[in-house]
Structures are given as C-alpha cells and as structure tokens.
C-alpha cells in the first residue's frame, strides 16, 4: 500500500513525539543509575546528570554488605510471593460468581454492594491497626498480604472479563455434568490467561510499591519491605538534638547520595527485569470487558 504524503508526515511526527515521551520516562532512572556509579563528592555536588562522574562501584559494595537492605529485599520477595498467591486466588474465586447473572446467583446485587461499599468507606488507620493487632497479624507478612487480598478493583476487572466468555461454553460444560469449580478451572481460567497476566502484574506492582503499611504494621526495621525501608532512607533526619560531633560523622557516612541511589536502583531492579517479559501477554490479548457492555 502506498502511503500518502500526509500519512508520512503524520508518521514522522508521531514517531518523534512518542520517542521523546519514552526518553522523558527513562530519564530519572538513568539519572539514579548514573549517580549510584559516581563518586560520593561528585554526586553530593550535583554534578552527575546522565553519565557517572568518577566511576566507582563502592556504593554497591557498601549496600550489598548492609544487612538491613538485604533483609528488606527478602521481606519484599516474601511479600510478593504470598501476596500474589492470596490476591490471585481471592480475585479469581470471587470474580467468577460475581460474573454470573441474577438468574444464576440471586443475591448477586447484595454481594456487589457489600464489596463496592468497601471502596467508598473505611474506618481509618487506627481502628484498622487495632484489628490487625487483634487478629495477631502484626509484625508478620500476613499483615501486608491478608488485609489487602481482597482488591475490589481487580475483582471487577476480572469479573468483566469473565462476563465476556461465551455463555455457550459454560452451558455445554454443565450439560457434560461439570460443576462451577470445574467450569472455572477448566474453561474460564485457560481462556483468561492474558487477563490473569495483567492482574498478576497489577498485584505485583501494588505489593512492591506499598510502603505505608510496612511502616505501620512491622515492628522492626529489618522486617520492613524494601519500599518502606527506602522511605526511611530518603527522608531527612531531625538533627535538632544532635550535638555530638561523633554522631554527625557517622550520619554523614550512611547518608550519602550515591548509596541512596544504589539502593533505589537495586530496589527497582527485580521488577524492571521481569516486567518487559510479562508485557507480551497483556498487550496481545486483553479484552477486559471491551467487546460489549
């Protein structure tokens, strides 16, 4: 097919806009990477932009020997693992019945409202904290995984996807004597792999980036997931009551900008490494309720 002149102009324009957008999005991470490989004094002086100044690996050797960084990283992986299991299971088995019509599940409307209501109302931080404490979850991975296992937003996404799976498939299965569980696992899930891939990514990002709950529910800094740990790293300290010179000397050593950057980069690395591969799935075949209303 021959391209018209206008089309060619459009394509050039389109390319350049999109490419510069992409560059804009990559910039901060590259900056962080460059700082992490620079010498402390050059970084503290703000001389680093996109390329390391006085290249050195010292911040990485420092960070990788830091016990609390490593333990936070481990906590994050555990959180990701259990979080994925809990949230995926709950999302799947809840979305399936809710995707049924009123004919199949008569009080669906009530269920829906009970779920939706939680998106609108919450009891606030302190009562939630007390519940977590009373259920004995405090200071365990459970506190970071179980209360947020039900995510109504993900459930609605998957529910809408399920709704678009042809009814005839389900009816055929019923005629063959299959129950709901079999139908869900043998028919719905295999047809929903792209949607599941997307939701898996959503859940992973959610768990990887959550920082506030870790700070509140964990009782030891070494039990913080990485994001919570990073929050305590990048924040500024109150020096009003520090008068001892020795104290300041120690602080200046652990407060280095390059060390912070190295931690930030290492913290983002696992997801950066995994997600481009997941991308194949979710761009290819996600319908997410878009065929019909």
């Amino acid at each position: 097919m021959k391209k018209s002149k206008g089309r060619i102009f459009f394509e050039i324009y389109n390319y350049s806009i999109l490419v510069s957008m992409a560059a804009l999005c990559l910039f901060p991470m590259i900056h962080v990477l460059a700082v992490s490989f620079s010498s402390g004094s050059a970084a503290a002086a703000g001389w680093v932009s996109l390329w390391p100044v006085d290249f050195t690996l010292s911040s990485y050797t420092f960070v990788l020997e830091k016990a609390d960084f490593i333990s936070s990283l481990m906590v994050s992986f555990q959180r990701l693992f259990w979080g994925l299991i809990a949230s995926l299971t709950i999302t799947i088995i809840t979305a399936y019945p809710l995707s049924k019509g009123k004919r199949d599940l008569r009080i669906r409307g009530i269920y829906i409202w009970v779920f939706i209501f939680t998106m609108l109302f919450n009891g606030g931080l302190i009562p939630t904290y007390m519940i977590i404490k009373e259920t004995g979850l405090l200071d365990s991975i459970g506190a970071l995984v179980i209360p947020c296992a039900v995510n109504v937003y993900f459930i609605i996404l998957l529910m809408n996807f399920f709704k678009n799976i042809p009814k005839s498939l389900e009816e055929a299965a019923f005629i063959d004597g299959a129950g709901h569980w079999t139908t869900l696992f043998k028919i719905y899930l295999p047809l929903s792999l792209p949607a599941l891939a997307t939701i898996t990514l959503f859940i992973s990002v959610f768990h990887w980036n959550s920082w506030f709950d870790g700070l509140i529910y964990m009782n030891r800094p070494e039990n913080y997931p990485l994001s919570s740990f990073l929050q305590t790293v990048v924040i500024q300290r109150d020096l009003t009551f520090i008068t001892d010179t020795r104290e300041i000397e120690m602080l200046s050593k652990v407060d280095g900008k390059t060390v912070k950057s190295a931690q930030i980069f290492l913290g983002a690395l696992p997801i950066l490494a995994v997600y481009p591969f997941l991308q194949r799935y979710f761009v290819k075949g996600i319908t997410l309720g878009s065929v019909k209303g």
Partner: protein, 300 residues
C-alpha cells in the same frame, strides 16, 4: 429447571465468595466501628465505647481551623484535573502507538513509558526536585534554550498544582495506556477490512471503529476514577510539597495524616476522614447512575 436444583447450583458460588466476604467483614467493615471516635473525645484506655461522647464538636473544631476551606479546594481541584487529564492522554497515546508500524519500536516505547509507574513517589520526589529546579534542572534548561524564563515548578503557588498534575500524568499515563491498547487490539479486524473496502481512511477508521471499540473501557475507567474525586494523591503530595506551597498543595489526606498520626488528634482526624468518605459516596453514586443512564453501562 426446578428451584431445588437451582439452589443447589448456587451453593458453590456462595462458597467461592465466602473467603473474600470474611476478609472484608474483618478488615474493612470491622474498622468502620472505629468511626465512632469521630464523635468522641477519644481516650485510648477507655476504648471506643467508653470515651466521652462529644457529638459534633470534632466537626466544629475542624471547621474552625483556618486552612480547611483551602484544603478542600486544593483536594477537589487537583483530583478532578488529574482524572480528566489522566483520561485523555492515555487514550491519545494508545491510539498513536497503534499507528506505529514497527512492533519492536512499539514495544520499546511501551516499555519505556510504563517505567515511571514502577517507581514510588518516595523516590520520584527526590528526583523531581532535581530535574525541576529553576537554576540547574533539566526541564528549565530546555525551556531556557527556548527563551522561557526559569519556572519555579515546586515552589510557586501558581505552578505547584500544575506540576503535581503533570508529574502524576507522567508517572501514570503509560500504565493506563496498557488497558486502552488492549482494548484496541481486541477490536475485530474484520471491521477494519470492511471499512477499507468502503474506502474509509485511517482517521475515519479510528473515529468509527477504534474509538467505539474502546468506549466501554473508557467509561469503566472514568466511572471508577470518579470515586476518587477526593483522592488527590497522598503519596505524591506527601513527597512533593513543602512549606511555601501548603497554600495550594495541602490536601485532605495529608491533613488527616498530620492531624491523626503526628498530632495525635484522633477524634478530629477521624471526623475529617468520615466527611471525606461521605462525600465520596455521593460522588460515586452519582457517577454510576450517570454511566448507566448516559452510556447504558452498568459496571456490575
């Protein structure tokens, strides 16, 4: 089908819902009991039901605070603008990406524009102060080369909200694009073939086939985001604001945080939270109603 069989058929469905139901009763409905402290002078040792009942005193106290009107206004302005901008940009980007011929370029660009989404605001906050700096920042250097006077993005009340909205869009647009792109890819290719046979050009195909194909998902996204009309983004504001832009940057959530967790004024903080929930409830109800009436779409 007789009624008995129907009922029996339903049982597995109820069982499937049960775990989620138990969890939200414990972790979402349970804490709602605590809303009671919005009406109390809460004393921890006396518990939720033993503290002194003060009626609407906490609400009056909040209303008497000098900044409250400004905080409400900031919240709504920031949140609404985010919703609107956050809706249009990803749709446009998705459509533009769809026009790219090379799949590899497309994927490379996609991979890049999703990237900021993975960085939390804690990290971005620090980076943004750097690159938005009027004297040494990357952005102002570019603007300077175009002859624009340096702009004080994070320190000027005229610019702060704009900056918040733009940086939020920058962080999230790639991510939202996933969903729209997915919708585009799922449009039936036969429709395009038929349109080409009818002589429709790319613009017309986009307008008459692609966009209608995305309609449902656009409505879904809009409706879901409308519930967030009072969620101006705690994580972002918390990590970007500073004293001189409190005037335009303080929002309900940062206010509740300071009041409740730093100043330990549990009653008033809960009162503000309750107020926020009630208003959100109204907004989301209205928006669901509108989605149903205007687009014939019910999200559940």
């Amino acid at each position: 089908m007789n009624l008995n069989l129907k009922l029996r058929r339903e049982i597995p469905l109820h069982i499937m819902i049960l775990p989620a139901l138990v969890l939200i009763i414990i972790f979402n409905y349970g804490p709602m009991v605590g809303i009671i402290i919005a009406f109390e002078k809460y004393i921890p040792t006396k518990g939720f039901f033993g503290s002194k009942w003060v009626g609407l005193d906490n609400f009056r106290y909040i209303l008497s605070m000098p900044d409250i009107q400004q905080i409400l206004k900031n919240t709504i302005v920031i949140a609404m603008t985010k919703i609107v901008v956050g809706l249009f940009i990803p749709v446009i980007v998705a459509l533009s990406l769809n026009e790219l011929g090379s799949d590899r370029t497309k994927r490379a660009i996609q991979t890049s524009i999703y990237l900021p989404h993975f960085l939390s605001w804690v990290i971005l906050g620090g980076i943004l102060v750097d690159i938005l700096s009027p004297s040494s920042g990357f952005v102002n250097k570019i603007l300077g080369s175009l002859g624009v006077e340096p702009i004080f993005f994070l320190g000027d009340n005229d610019w702060f909200q704009f900056t918040v909205i733009i940086t939020n869009t920058w962080k999230e647009f790639g991510y939202a694009t996933i969903i729209y792109l997915a919708a585009i890819t799922s449009v039936d290719p036969n429709l395009y073939e038929a349109a080409i046979v009818d002589g429709a050009n790319r613009w017309r195909q986009t307008w008459h086939i692609t966009l209608p194909g995305m309609k449902t998902i656009i409505i879904l996204m809009t409706v879901l985001s409308l519930g967030a009309v009072l969620n101006a983004g705690f994580d972002q504001l918390f990590n970007l604001y500073n004293p001189i832009v409190y005037e335009t940057g303080d929002i309900i959530d940062t206010f509740v945080y300071r009041l409740g967790l730093i100043d330990a004024q549990f009653g008033p903080a809960t009162a503000v939270g309750l107020f926020k929930s009630l208003v959100s409830l109204v907004f989301i109800s209205v928006s669901y109603f509108l989605a149903d009436k205007l687009a014939g779409y019910s999200i559940f």
